[in-house]
């Protein structure tokens, strides 16, 4: 079931597109539902499909194509570190190593307490403030150093 809050947000997105093009709101609908649950379950996919009036597979195709959707549960905080060229030149891999060391996990894994998931990401379009990472897809932390990472981890309770 989609929550009333999610439906209200999805309706705002639907209003952007022609009435007969509800499918256009699939990306934002999935993002809204993922924000609420942390990931996209089969049930969430079906709920979005039903609400937009499109087949489940049309929604799953989108959810599995775009990198920022999660089809498996993640930790409370998903940390996605950009390691592409401009970030790499400013030692993004050092930041990844520091995070792996601090969290005791490798990229792609979640801490045992379910708090953090660590991922490597592709270019986030913010190369001027490298190295950088995203917390839960929305909160960008820039000009990272090991000290800033430590501070950030302290702040994410």
């Amino acid at each position: 079931m989609l929550s009333a809050e999610s439906i209200a947000k999805i309706d705002r997105e639907l209003a952007k597109y022609p009435a007969n093009q509800r499918r256009s709101a699939v990306m934002s609908s999935l993002a809204i539902v993922q924000d609420e649950h942390g990931w996209l379950s089969k049930e969430s996919i079906s709920d979005v499909a039903a609400y937009l009036g499109i087949p489940d597979i049309a929604v799953l195709e989108v959810a599995s194509f775009y990198n920022m959707y999660e089809l498996k549960p993640t930790g409370k905080y998903k940390l996605t570190v950009c390691t592409n060229i401009s970030c790499m030149l400013r030692d993004a891999h050092g930041i990844v190593e520091h995070l792996e060391h601090r969290l005791g996990i490798h990229c792609g894994e979640t801490t045992a307490d379910g708090k953090f998931t660590l991922k490597e990401g592709e270019c986030m379009g913010a190369c001027g403030s490298a190295p950088l990472l995203l917390v839960n897809n929305k909160d960008m932390r820039e000009f990272l150093t090991n000290e800033k990472v430590d501070e950030m981890l302290e702040g994410l309770k």
Partner: protein
Amino acid sequence: MSPSLNATLNSVCFRTIDKPNPASLETYRSLGGYEVLKRIITEQTPAVEIINELKLSNLRGRGGAGFPTGLKWSFMPKNYEGDKYLLCNSDEGEPGTFKDRDILRYNPHQLIEGMAIGGYVMGAKTGYNYIHGEIWAEYEIFERALDEARAAGLLGDNLFGTNFSFNLYAHHGYGAYICGEETALLESVEGKKGQPRFKPPFPASYGLYGKPTTINNTETFASVPYILQHGGQHFLDLGVANSGGTKLFSVSGHVEKPGNFEVNMGLPFPELLALAGGVWKGRKLKAVIPGGSSVPVVPADVMMATNMDYDSITKAGSMLGAGSVIVMDESTDMVKALDRLSYFYFEESCGQCTPCREGTGWLWRVVRRIADGKGRMEDLDLLTDVSTNISGRTICALGDAAATPVLSFIKHFRPEFEYYIQHGRSMITG
């Protein structure tokens, strides 16, 4: 004679950047913002006059392809009965590119006005701005700017008491480089996987929802109000032959002060490098990728003798692209750098065309093999062979974009690759 650099830094798309509340409607209006829109709508300026002014300005598409904007706008069918659409491509995901983010952040109203002008000229009543998935804060800034513009009667129905209507919305991406390709972007707005369409038909005849559509880059649209405010000739004169106006250059990598710099076209590269504080840590320049990860890498000596405009960079063996300048110092391991770029194209291939889907993975695996110290000398010919067999054999340019770094890195830095193969380790980092 061109004006001094200080007088022209950040003068077009970034002209609000040093003002208080740069993204606000009030700030934009204090610079004459939305006056062009009001004038052309209330005076019913013929579309052809505006297109001619854009042609005079020599504004070329700032997303990378450099196609003349005035000409592109003239392709939209004039007597079409029914909906037409205007799309802005703010889906910046090409490694090294981060200029449109700062337009959204510091001057969203100039983009909105540019799109509304486009709507008037091309007869489109609806527009969408497709914003890169990872920049949520800027998406929200743009949404707020849209609300401000609607409340002030600058977007919506019957603008300025005329029968002209233009409605504009933001569409948020969610992590797919390929959606920066204009037909993949159309698919994505339609709620599908971002897989590029075969062209023809071109978007101007069959675009969003099958309707005539024009897609321009953020910087392109944002340049339009300035051009119409000051005249096409003025904008043209800011630049050099074949490269009218100013350009945002995103400088990243091994510099002291990475960031965006809006300068006159034709600025010598050493001056741009100086604006970014020079090569960091007092090191020597090794190479530059001048237009985003998909254009050929240029060795330092050639780059230092090159000006930042379309023709000069082409002459240097590369492309201006989106003006995304990736700077690499002498400590850079070019094999590792190529390894990362090749992985990116493999990861981001949409999977539709076999040469790209299979070829990008093949390229990456071979580069990785070399970087792991397990390369064979014949791998260099293999990489060249696979690259040339991808190029030109796919629906969109991602395949070519994957091949270009491979070919140019091997061409200019072949000894580094050979050293890895012979010694199993880096010539640079040991």
